[in-house]
């Protein structure tokens, strides 16, 4: 369709025949290309799915069979939920889920609230020292938080917060990238909307809360989910600040029992999948927000 649209434009009397001929050639090579790409892509997609599917198959296999090797795991067709059941009965997983859910949700709420407030000030208000604040925020993007694990550990120890959920939540709240994402979005909201509210006598908080935030639902969703996933997946911070087994988040809990599994391969893979289960559900529900959030932020691990 697009090609036929383009054709009239090139239909000068001199080269009338040439474009038709060449576009025909491009069409053929385009079709071959499409078929080849579909085949190559499918092969790679299958390769990419194998590890997860193999883990799933293993988790549904009996521990005894799983210990005999990959070939037997693939051949065995007696799926059992035994490994998953043993996790849920043992109870540790519930503690881990609770710890991960609490820390992820609280961090996400605080990050979104505080980050959007800061972004509102930077995007909409004029104040002395604005440039300095913007510079600090820019600097903050470059600070690699993982490298700060030692001083953060000391600080939390000094204020007696080690081994509390706060020790996992607080250090992850200042996500500078969230301020940036919010600021970019707020910059695009037409000023007329809030000026009308101002003339009506609305205060800053009122404008922020009932004009700006309701317009920002997509970006709020993206930042919330990205923060949630980031905190849920974080290993480094909770690994060092939580030593109480009752408070361990899912990744830390898994890491701590990894060695004690021995040859119970099915159990290990069931644990690996249980750690990811809430995120997989979240991904399937919020695919668009997650993908848009990732491209919008350009942030990485």
């Amino acid at each position: 369709m697009a090609l036929t649209e383009a054709r009239p434009r090139t239909k000068s009397p001199i080269s009338a025949a040439a474009p038709v001929a060449t576009s025909g050639k491009a069409g053929v090579s385009g079709r071959t290309f499409s078929i080849v790409s579909a085949v190559v892509l499918t092969v790679f997609a299958i390769v990419w799915l194998i590890p997860s599917l193999f883990a799933l198959k293993t988790s549904l296999t009996d521990n005894g069979v799983a210990a005999t090797g990959a070939t037997n795991i693939l051949k065995n067709w007696n799926p059992t939920l035994h490994s998953f059941a043993s996790y849920f009965q043992a109870g540790d997983i519930w503690n881990w889920y609770a710890a991960s859910a609490i820390t992820s949700v609280v961090t996400a709420v605080l990050t979104v609230l505080f980050g959007s407030m800061a972004a509102y000030a930077l995007s909409r208000l004029k104040f002395r020292g604005q440039n300095t604040v913007l510079l600090l925020i820019l600097l903050g993007i470059m600070i690699p938080t993982q490298v700060l694990i030692v001083p953060i550990f000391q600080e939390l120890g000094a204020v007696n917060l080690l081994n509390t959920y706060w020790s996992v939540i607080f250090p992850q709240v200042p996500a500078v990238i969230a301020v940036f994402i919010f600021k970019q979005f707020f910059d695009g909201i037409p000023r007329e909307l809030e000026e009308a509210a101002r003339i009506d006598g609305a205060g800053l908080w009122k404008i922020f809360w009932s004009v700006i935030l309701p317009l920002s639902r997509p970006v709020i969703a993206a930042v919330t989910i990205l923060t949630f996933v980031g905190v849920w997946n974080n290993l480094l911070l909770p690994l060092f600040v939580l030593s109480n087994p009752n408070l361990m988040t899912v990744p830390v809990g898994l890491a701590s029992v990894q060695g004690s599994f021995g040859l119970r391969y099915a159990d290990i893979q069931a644990g690996a999948l249980l750690a990811a289960l809430p995120l997989i559900v979240l991904y399937l529900a919020f695919q668009r927000q997650i993908v848009e959030g990732v491209t919008g932020s350009g942030l990485k691990g």
Binding site: M117, L282, T295
Partner: protein
């Protein structure tokens, strides 16, 4: 820099006398409001980002430890000297570089190829997005457990696949110092490719269709279109992807900790494993901080380079 557009905006609205009259007293009030809006985030920023950075710089000059409170005795540049003179510091840096070299090319090339192909597929795009992106949302604990199991010596999936094609499996990918880092790199490429894939897909969608149509009319083959339109126009995404990958590689910790814990020997020990080991296992916070600062400097330099490249590319595009 940012004040300039705000000022021009203010002058532009000046014809509306009513608006300006209402505006100026309000802007005076804005200042206090602005700081109130900044305060909660600012508090956390200072307490958990800026503060720790400053504290890390300070402790790197002292013999601080985790067993005693306070800074400990002044050490000057001794911690830095020790780190720069330690063989395991340089080997950790080398392993970090090794990891970067193993992961960056496949993460750029494969993500680019997959994105281009997915973008051309008419039906079932959702399937490829799912297949390539799903691993990215898995926790590092999950991917590590999966890959350690795949790499199980003798009976793992990897060994079985090797046997199937007639290769005698060795002691296991993760058990040999020569291949352990490759195993970690494979798991990482599998895990994080989806991120770059999505960045490239987004980049592809920004290229105007008319460019391809015009090229097709001029008789350019699909390959030529990719070579002369897609590749150059994705240059910005590629630099972004490469620099983000380098920064991410410098901070690698999870996969190493979970898959090999730095072993066999110290053959996969990376910068962050060395830092946490020095600070938490040897209880030498000062020395660990010095190593952190050195790593920090490298990361900042790369981040600054990224900013410069990004700006110059943006200027070129404008």
């Amino acid at each position: 820099m940012t004040a300039a557009p705000a000022m021009t905006r203010a002058t532009r609205t000046s014809p509306h006398t009513l608006a300006t009259k209402r505006r100026s007293p309000l802007s005076g009030g804005d200042s206090r409001g602005a700081w109130l809006f900044l305060a909660p985030f600012g508090l956390f920023y200072v307490a958990f980002l800026l503060g720790p950075t400053v504290w890390m710089l300070i402790t790197s000059f002292f013999n601080t430890s985790t067993v005693k409170t306070g800074l400990g005795s002044f050490a000057g540049f001794k911690n830095y000297g020790e780190m720069l003179g330690r063989a395991d510091f340089w080997s950790a840096m080398w392993h970090t570089l090794q990891f970067t070299l193993y992961t960056t090319p496949p993460l750029v090339v494969l993500a680019f190829v997959f994105a281009i192909l997915t973008n051309r597929v008419r039906r079932g795009q959702w399937f490829f997005r799912l297949a390539f992106f799903l691993p990215y949302i898995l926790p590092s604990a999950t991917i590590s457990l999966i890959w350690v199991f795949i790499f199980t010596p003798g009976s793992g999936l990897w060994a079985s696949a090797q046997q199937a094609v007639g290769i005698t499996p060795g002691a296991g990918v993760l058990a040999s110092p020569a291949t352990a880092m490759i195993g970690i790199a494979i798991a990482t490429v599998w895990w994080t490719l989806g991120f770059n894939f999505v960045l490239y897909l987004a980049g592809l969608q920004e290229i105007p269709r008319e460019l391809y149509e015009a090229a097709a009319v001029d008789g350019a083959t699909t390959w030529e279109q990719i070579r002369f339109i897609t590749l150059p126009l994705l240059g910005r995404t590629t630099t972004l992807v490469i620099l983000l990958q380098i920064i991410a590689s410098l901070k690698i910790f999870d996969q190493v900790y979970l898959m090999t814990s730095g072993g066999p020997g110290i053959s996969t020990q990376v910068a962050l494993t060395l830092i946490t080991g020095t600070a938490f296992t040897d209880n030498r916070v000062g020395a660990g901080s010095a190593a952190s600062v050195l790593l920090f400097i490298v990361i900042i330099v790369i981040a600054v380079v990224r900013q410069i490249i990004d700006r110059s590319l943006a200027r070129k595009a404008a």
